[in-house]
Symmetry: C2
Subunit: 473 residues, 2 copies
């Protein structure tokens, strides 16, 4: 494709996206197709000859769109919001168009420098001290893996330079609440700790880690000859946005010589609101922190910010310095390949730059406050409605709920919950998901799509009330 | 930004990219700025209020472009080509515009299904058997980390479900050539093996792994009570595109019960040419394989394909199944989160789809053959020129070279090599990099930018000859 052909089709693609975003609200939120339906309609073998890209947008409409679940839909209430704002999209287009790769500073200085600056802007926006330095990773799963490896290496005084985990005399242990994200356990297993050395610490009634139980687990392991290594605090759990007590956990981590990693993948965005910052009080006592601008804040996926206080330690764990990557400027410049796992990196800072410039801090704050207010409104409706039960506190924008008529308990209640959820999801009018809280299924209403206004939440609440009447109970 | 505002500015962005690609050839290839120059010109604090995005493109020209090293420039001969073809860019735009995230199949069925199909198209294009299944990762560094973790878990029969590497009685060992990519050692260290258990196997005169030395190392470790775990073969090393003997290594891996991972990040693309496939003869004996369509082939970064023969094993190592990700279709559909480290994933298959459809297999083949022919031409010029020395075979598109006048040896020769390299790079006329081969610096000429024709290579050769006269010797 020549630049001129790209110009022509590129305009059509921009128009297609603008039209898609305009009409997204009219489409069924969750894709209605069955497994295999998309693939069945596409050629099983690659084309021998090229074809003009004019057919592309027709195929997007006919073959791809039916297989899309619309995350940018105002009735998308599932998982967490993943706002791919159109201002951020423009920055992402520019990154794609430039086609540069940040193997080192010299491979495109602007890529490294804007990334460090954007990480610093977000640091300031979230009220973190200057002690933190950050860079962009793909996802919180990866950042948490990096954190646990850094913890492992601090505890073992760089065993990777010797025999690795294979040379350590006493096993290291990782601690996180039973409500922590699946990626924490996955990271611990991938980093070689082993399931036997990962502790799921019990939570309190608000689904936040119980610090007395953490102290007990740390003390038990130490007494029995194991080495407490890393504690993971979650600020905004996936099920219910519960808030672990970061300050108390920081104290315990310090007392037991552990690394403290804070998973604020979702709730980190809320810290651009000063009134929310008590939610992670004690954050300056942590060693590392991940927050995802590609969720609620509005950066296009993938954009996960990983901050540490000790960059030198991070680089010592992650650095490589082969001859073919050395440059005359290495001594004066930062090479971000040494801040994470991948060597190559896209110019991802552009999509943060266009987002923050276009919306401004005050614009982002106003949108998040709107969503918090919508969540409080929905919580109040549920609290006032007979037979409905809000099953967790609502510190942020996610409301966990059951319809709980008298006499319906146990597995029958679970069946009812999943039935009315599927009734809504199958309708295409809205998309929610479920989670297990306190041993029973609950429905999550996660508010915060860019286009979701109060009217959409009110419509959802009506649909929920209609669904429990029609879900076949 | 509303869809209509996005439509307006989006057209400007497309035009800016088309213009950029048209004029890229007129810009100095390597950025000429000094560390800190970009950041110094940008506001240190985020803007309180949003601004219209109209200033964006002016800022791209004034603040960002001077800090860009132009990977899409026809005189870019550094590292490896990273072709962000404009056909692929359009697919990437669509992915960004849709803004969907593939947490599981249901979160956008088309994302999963097109990704599996595109991995299968590339499998067919590279002549791999149907035994392989692949998915997209960000980079080969990450894929190689996944491979070594999978090897670790096969050898230990899933130690991650028990005590991890901390519970194993005998240390596991990883083997790769001394010319393997830095990411192999990094992956081994991150996976917990420890530097003491990573063997750098000597290479032969062509910089390919010596299988007799590998056998010796495997036997030594086994005799001394260690457990051979993983062998990594490189098809197309980074320094000189050397080709490890995959078939012989597969035999040894099988004999010693090791996992064989093949790093074909660069050379994998060449396998779309049937005449190149002897370069990885024996590939069907490997357990895993990574190749990067975001290099020579032309997919926009990031797009690294990781293939395995035993998907069930991969999923058993990588899977998580928290309640909040379960869906009614889990039993019938593939959830790609269980094929790698990150949970979230972009719709990256779209950029492969538009690339392959637009260029066709024959178009991609023709471009790669052009580049191979250009590399052979340059090698012939060097071979025929007095005082010039080609320091490695040229099986693919990279030519490693020294200007080696009589009497110039050792460190003086190194200084000369780095001086004429920097002379060219500083001029902005072309961009090359250096590597250490056989203990001495050599310059790499890595051909294969989409826009690089024979005339550009001929011009480079003239510049190289001029540079050695002017580099201050």
């Amino acid at each position: 494709v020549t630049p001129e052909e790209f110009r022509r089709v590129g305009h059509l693609v921009v128009d297609w996206i603008a039209d898609y975003r305009t009409r997204a609200a009219t489409l069924p939120v969750r894709s209605t197709i069955a497994p295999g339906d998309v693939r069945r309609r596409l050629p099983t073998t690659p084309p021998e000859r090229g074809e003009p890209l004019d057919t592309l947008l027709r195929d997007m409409d006919e073959m791809i769109l039916p297989g899309i679940t619309h995350w940018q839909h105002p009735q998308f209430f599932s998982y967490f919001p993943a706002n791919a704002t159109l201002s951020s999209a423009l920055g992402d287009f520019l990154s794609t168009g430039l086609g540069v790769i940040g193997l080192n500073w010299q491979a495109s200085p602007a890529l490294t420098e804007l990334e460090l600056l954007m990480a610093d802007w977000i640091r300031q926006m979230t009220g973190l001290s200057e002690a933190w330095s950050g860079a962009i990773h793909d996802t919180a799963s990866t950042a948490t893996l990096v954190a646990l490896i850094c913890a492992r290496e601090r505890t073992t005084r760089f065993s990777l330079q010797r025999g690795g985990l294979q040379g350590e005399p006493r096993p290291l242990v990782v601690y996180a609440s039973s409500e922590s994200h699946s990626s924490v356990q996955k990271a611990a297993l991938l980093a070689g700790f082993g399931r036997a050395h990962v502790r799921a610490i019990p939570v309190d009634d608000a689904f936040a880690l119980d610090p007395r139980a953490l102290r007990q687990a740390l003390a038990d392991d130490r007494r029995e000859g194991r080495v407490p290594c890393a504690v993971v605090a979650t600020v905004g759990t996936t099920s219910s946005t519960a808030l672990d007590p970061v300050g108390a956990m920081a104290d315990l981590a310090s007392e037991f010589g552990c690394w403290l990693h804070v998973d604020a993948a979702m709730a980190g965005a809320a810290m651009i609101l000063p009134e929310c910052r008590t939610m992670w009080a004690g954050i300056e006592g942590a060693d590392s922190l991940v927050l995802n601008p590609h969720k609620w804040l509005g950066a296009v996926m993938d954009c996960s910010l990983y901050y540490v206080r000790d960059v030198e330690h991070l680089v010592r764990v992650m650095s490589t310095n082969p001859s073919y990557l050395r440059t005359p400027t290495d001594a004066q410049a930062v090479n971000l390949r040494d801040w994470g796992i991948p060597l190559g990196r896209r110019f991802r800072a552009l999509k943060l730059w266009t987002l923050i410039r276009s919306e401004g801090v005050s614009g982002l704050q106003a949108r998040l406050r709107r969503d918090l207010e919508n969540a409080r409104w929905l919580a109040a409706q549920i609290d006032a409605a007979p037979e409905w039960e809000r099953v967790a506190p609502v510190p942020l924008q996610t409301v966990c709920v059951r319809h709980h008529p008298a006499g319906l308990e146990g597995e029958a209640l679970d069946r009812h919950t999943l039935a009315w959820l599927e009734h809504i999801n199958r309708s295409g009018d809205a998309f929610l998901n479920a989670t297990v809280l306190g041993g029973r299924w609950a429905v999550r209403v996660s508010i915060g799509s860019e286009t979701t206004e109060r009217a959409h939440v009110a419509m959802l609440w009506e649909r929920m009330q209609a669904a429990v009447r029609n879900a076949g109970i």
